[in-house]
């Protein structure tokens, strides 16, 4: 639990600090010992916990799915294959529903997004102190186990999607077509001069809406998971505030965890659906 020597604020701060590896101001490389040190490391530092958990969960997903893919029979499916096929079919239906162009990348991308984000979010249901306390026994002082509460993780995926959106926009419509889409609408005119006048206005509007796609994608997931994590942490603080509040906290944690099952699935689904929709928009003139 929070420990006697920590105040509530310190406890929260501790839980929100990533295990950061980077260069100390004095020039030596190593783990940051507190949040301030981590901040001082600047851009050239890496969140070891985020990387570890996201890659670990990703490999878990790839391992089970590729195991099924390798032994996939066309006969009667059973066990894990049933589950994987159901999921693949679900993703396939979603992609067919929202994506009208032909692109063999989109469906596997959607599957990866959905399962990977779901697994990352799922770590939120692990009691907040369980893994950090276990890590403390191993001598690791900071451990944030939910990768999707790290904006680096959500922005990493959102930027990946954004790069694909830009790539396909230019590939399908050409640089001219894409530039035209950014500058010649929503305002247009027959008069050449007015048209030229509209270009900067259109560009500002369209550029904002374009750049809003990855940002909203990343921040929506991050915000939801961060807020959920924060509530779990706040509930965990109640365990230190006496028996009655502790019991109340237990009930709250159960309730929030059950509700959270819905949120983690929903957020994974929203991220996936928006990815498909953005890529669909990149494939069509409008």
């Amino acid at each position: 639990m929070a420990g006697d020597t920590l105040t509530s604020s310190e406890y929260i701060k501790h839980h929100l600090t990533n295990l950061t590896f980077g260069q100390h101001p004095d020039g030596s490389w190593g783990m940051a010992h507190n949040a301030a040190e981590a901040k001082a490391m600047g851009f050239w530092a890496i969140h070891v916990d985020t990387m570890f958990w996201s890659i670990g969960l990703g490999i878990l997903f790839l391992y089970f799915f590729s195991k099924v893919a390798k032994t996939a029979t066309t006969g009667v499916p059973e066990g894990l294959q049933n589950f994987v096929e159901w999921l693949v079919d679900f993703i396939d239906t979603s992609v067919r529903g929202s994506f009208s162009a032909r692109n063999s990348l989109v469906a596997p991308l959607a599957l990866t997004v959905f399962v990977w984000i779901f697994l990352q979010n799922l770590m939120d249901l692990v009691p907040v102190d369980l893994i950090p306390e276990a890590a403390k026994l191993l001598g690791i002082h900071f451990m944030k186990v939910v990768p999707s509460t790290d904006p680096n993780a959500t922005f990493g995926m959102a930027i990946g999607v954004f790069i694909l959106v830009l790539f396909y926009s230019i590939k399908i419509k050409g640089i001219g077509g894409f530039a035209g889409e950014l500058t010649l609408q929503p305002f247009s005119a027959d008069n050449m001069l007015v048209k030229l006048l509209f270009i900067p206005i259109n560009f500002i509007l369209e550029f904002v809406s374009l750049i809003a796609k990855p940002i909203s994608l990343a921040l929506r997931l991050f915000g939801n998971m961060y807020a959920g994590e924060m509530i779990f942490i706040l509930i965990a603080i109640m365990y230190n505030a006496g028996l009655i509040l502790g019991l109340f906290g237990g009930v709250l944690q159960l309730g929030w965890a059950i509700f959270h099952i819905l949120i983690i699935t929903l957020q994974a689904f929203i991220f996936m659906t928006l990815t498909i929709v953005y890529l669909d928009m990149a494939h069509h003139e409008h």
């Binding site: 929100l16 990533n18 530092a45 996201s54 990703g58 396939d92 990866t112």
Partner: protein, 156 residues
């Protein structure tokens, strides 16, 4: 909550995961699903075809049975007719044979009776000659009168 190198790391990880999923997960699983879909469709079509064929076969069997029944009835009728014919024929044959035997017997009887009559006539002639000989022993020349007696005997 600092934006740092983790961002790039996550981006690269994401790219590798998507690539892996596309190459080693999505394609084989979708392939298996498509193949199964096709196999099921084929199976259903085959079942339907089989059912159709079974119905046709049933129809054909019914026809064949019907034909066989009528043929059997015809054969039985023919056999009965033939049997009646055979009976009639044998009756005729028997009757003819009987008549033939009867005629032959009658002819034999006639012959026998004729022969007996002849024999009798001869005997009567001899008897008459013997009687006449006895009566007319002396005056009658047996040789001279034999012709007369024979004529007499012929008339009997």
């Amino acid at each position: 909550m600092n934006i740092n190198l983790t961002l790039i790391g996550q981006l690269l990880t994401f790219a590798v995961f998507v690539w892996f999923t596309m190459k080693f997960i999505w394609t084989p699983i979708m392939g298996a699903l498509e193949t199964r879909k096709k196999e099921i469709a084929d199976g259903l079509a085959a079942a339907e075809r089989g059912q159709h064929e079974q119905e046709l076969a049933k129809e054909r069997a019914k026809d064949v049975l019907h034909e066989a029944k009528s043929q059997a009835a015809e054969i039985v009728a023919q056999a009965q007719k033939r049997a009646a014919e055979i009976v009639d024929e044998s009756k005729d044959t028997a009757r003819t044979e009987g008549e033939r035997i009867l005629t032959a017997a009658q002819a034999e009887i006639e012959q026998e009776s004729n022969r007996a009559r002849e024999h009798l006539r001869e005997k009567i002639g001899e008897l008459a000659v013997a009687g006449a000989e006895k009566i007319l022993r002396k005056e009658i020349n047996a040789a001279a009168h034999k012709n007369i007696v024979n004529e007499l005997a012929q008339e009997i």
